[in-house]
Amino acid sequence: MGERLSAYAYIAPFFVIFGVFGLFPFAFTFYVALFDWNPIGDQVFIGFDNFVRMFGDPRFWNAAGNTVSIWALSTVPQLLLALVLAHVLNHARLKFALFFRMTVLVPYITSVAATAIVFVQLFDRDYGMLNWLLGLVGVEPVDFVQSTWGSHLLIAVMVMWRWFGYTTLLYLASLQAVPRSVFEAAAIDGAGPWQRFRHITVPSLRPVIIFTVVTSTIGGLQIFTEPLLIATGAPLTCGAVRQCQTLTLFLYEQGFGQFEFGYGSAVGVALFVMVVAIAAVNYLLSTRIKAD
């Protein structure tokens, strides 16, 4: 009896901490979303008014659109790049393979704030290196931060730079589980590099590709630090016309800029629903692919 109970005691610390710091704040968000909640003033129950307001709020839809745009701009190129890099790093004749495999992780361990400072300077309108290079070929300076597509591109590049190494390593790890003899046999049979990539690398990575699509989608919905740091003139809105304000940044602006905790929580609930919906779609897709 004691033996059986002790197992629960061993796992209890996790569940207690998860309950206090994970589950409770999570459930409490749903509760707060039903209130006009001033953290240092009155808390008035208003039912679903926050959600009604949210669906009619162009700022919310703008943030949702920005989030999807930034996600697509960063995820698709990132996964393709990682796929190609993993294929190259897995090559039998690659010199200094360990060195390259380790250096792809360097962006991942660099602080996001430092990354943002450097990239904002690279992309600056007046003093940025990118605009200097564009100027050499006669292109007028581009104001990346102040334009919608430019700011999305800038954030996407930062996200991509940070995560491609991590994704590459995931792909590489599962590529190494594929026996090298398969590649060698294909090469002997006359398959070229592209054919080997297309018919061996990609199919054998299918499960891990699905995994990275799911995680990068969920991560993409929560992009926060990069947009917060690029438009220092109006950080909480990521620019004068909210051109790169993501959903999490909108949530933060409402909660901690305007102190409308109820409305901010409603945005949080909406974000949760989106993440669950995307996870469900991914799950359905992946079970179908596995069944094929």
Binding site: G2, E3, L5, S6, A9, Y10, A12, P13, V16, I17, V20, N38, P39, I40, G41, R53, D57, P58, R59, I117, V120, Q121, D124, R125, D126, Y127, D143, Q146, S147, A231, T232, G233, A234, T237, G239, A240, V241, Q243, F256, Q258, F259
Partner: protein, 421 residues
């Protein structure tokens, strides 16, 4: 043992959590010999705290430099909502209204004797910390004061006068300021000022007698002709081609300042330090002229005592000593923050102070003069949001190709959504 130790662990975790739960209830109950003080970082508050310690060696002060003024206000909000509050906290003027709306969180300083010292302070500064039933929540520690800092070398190159009196005479009004900008642009082809939103609109809109709220605390931002006039000035500056399109404090703004990309910048007194540290190589190339419109203020902070403070009396003693006219004058000589107590404006230590970085401009006199013409207006809970949307709309025209003809309506629409009116 197998069973007991994990259970102990769980108990320990639970005990820790209970310890973290905030205690409710009222204030007081401290030892009266110490207090906790939350201030902003990088404003040299420690110097003044140390000065107090030499006067009152029996008092222990625990100074925490929380971060920027906004971060300090956010931490204070969290603390007030349910956490350990400091005994004394510095609140920046922009963050003050949200706290004034909820006076139950703070000690009404009238109970400690605020009415006795009220007369020492500028009335329009004092009024901003008075809540709806007359509760006094904060004592003003300093004010911004307004002037224009300009580059004498760049002005000379453009054929403009460089003497501060003559430069001030160039722009009695904001329209004249914009005209001067056009002359500068024509002569040099370069931007005259940094941006339209903060250097023009933000200053002009603070020179009104009534701003976003009427005196009886009703929203009038959309119908007040004074606000509209200030906004139109901002748009006029943004479309005149005289701005560098660099928003204040962005990294390109700092680089632009160091490189002389713009020749004039609206400068509250605390901005002089920013210029000094941002563009140290421009020492001696600056001078200071009066602000168009004659008066202005940007910035200034308040000291407040949270209701649940353990040592309110010790904190009040500190305010009374260090924020007295004499205390603020000493603070000015230490860090250059402009006093909120007009009785010391004539004092030689202030009136005769000169700044070598800015060609020996008599900064003390220029800034205190700019404070005397200001009128009090009510700042309400949504003032900050309204102001931000107006600024955003002007920046949009200046930097993102927004349509100047619809900018006013765009701003009003954005404000309506933001404040849920």
């Amino acid at each position: 043992m197998k069973l007991r130790s994990p259970l102990l662990c769980v108990t320990a975790v639970l005990a820790l959590l209970t310890a973290c739960t905030p205690g409710g209830g009222g204030g007081g109950g401290g030892d009266g010999k110490s207090f906790e003080f939350w201030s902003f970082a990088a404003i040299n508050q420690k110097l003044t705290v140390d000065a107090y310690k030499t006067k009152r060696p029996d008092i222990e002060i625990k100074l925490t430099e929380v971060g920027t003024s906004t971060e300090t206000a956010q931490s204070l909000t969290t603390a007030l909502a349910g956490g350990k509050v400091p005994d004394l906290v510095l609140i920046q003027g922009d963050n003050l209204p949200q706290f004034v709306e909820q006076p139950q969180n703070f000690v009404d300083l009238r109970t400690l004797g605020a009415d006795d010292i009220k007369g020492d302070y500028l009335d329009w500064v004092w009024k901003q910390s008075v809540a709806k039933d007359g509760e006094v929540l904060g004592v003003p520690t300093d004010v911004g004061g307004m002037a224009v800092a300009y580059r004498t070398d760049l002005f000379a190159a453009a054929g403009l006068p460089t003497d501060p009196a003559q430069v001030s005479a160039l722009w009695p009004t904001w329209d004249a300021f914009i005209e001067t900008g056009k002359r500068y642009k024509q002569a040099t082809g370069k931007a005259f000022t940094d941006n339209a939103a903060t250097s023009v609109f933000y200053q002009a809109v603070n020179q009104v007698s009534e701003k976003y709220y009427s005196d009886d605390r009703k929203l009038v931002y959309s119908s007040n002709p004074q606000v509209r006039a200030a906004f139109d000035l901002g748009i006029k500056a943004a479309t005149a081609g005289i701005t560098a399109g660099q928003s204040s404090f962005e990294s390109a703004w700092s680089a632009g300042m160091a490189q002389g990309q713009y020749a004039a910048v609206s400068a509250p007194s605390w901005m002089l330090n920013t210029i000094r540290s941002t563009a140290p190589d421009t020492k001696g190339k600056w001078n200071i002229a009066t602000i168009p419109g004659g008066s202005g203020n940007w910035g200034g902070s308040y000291l407040a005592i949270p209701k649940r403070a353990k040592n309110p009396q010790a904190a009040w003693d500190y305010i009374k000593e260090m924020q007295s006219p004499k205390g603020q004058l000493e603070h000015f000589t230490r860090v250059g923050a402009l006093p909120s107590t007009p009785s010391v404006y004539e004092d030689a230590q202030l009136a005769d102070s000169k700044d070598p970085f800015f060609s020996d401009a008599p900064t003390g006199k220029i800034y205190t003069d700019s404070l005397l013409g200001l009128k009090p207006f009510y700042i309400g809970p949504d003032s900050a949001v309204i102001g931000q949307e107006f600024l955003n709309s002007i920046t949009n025209v200046e930097q993102s190709g927004g349509n100047p003809a619809t900018a006013w309506d765009d701003a009003l629409r954005a404000i309506k959504i933001a404040i849920g009116e």
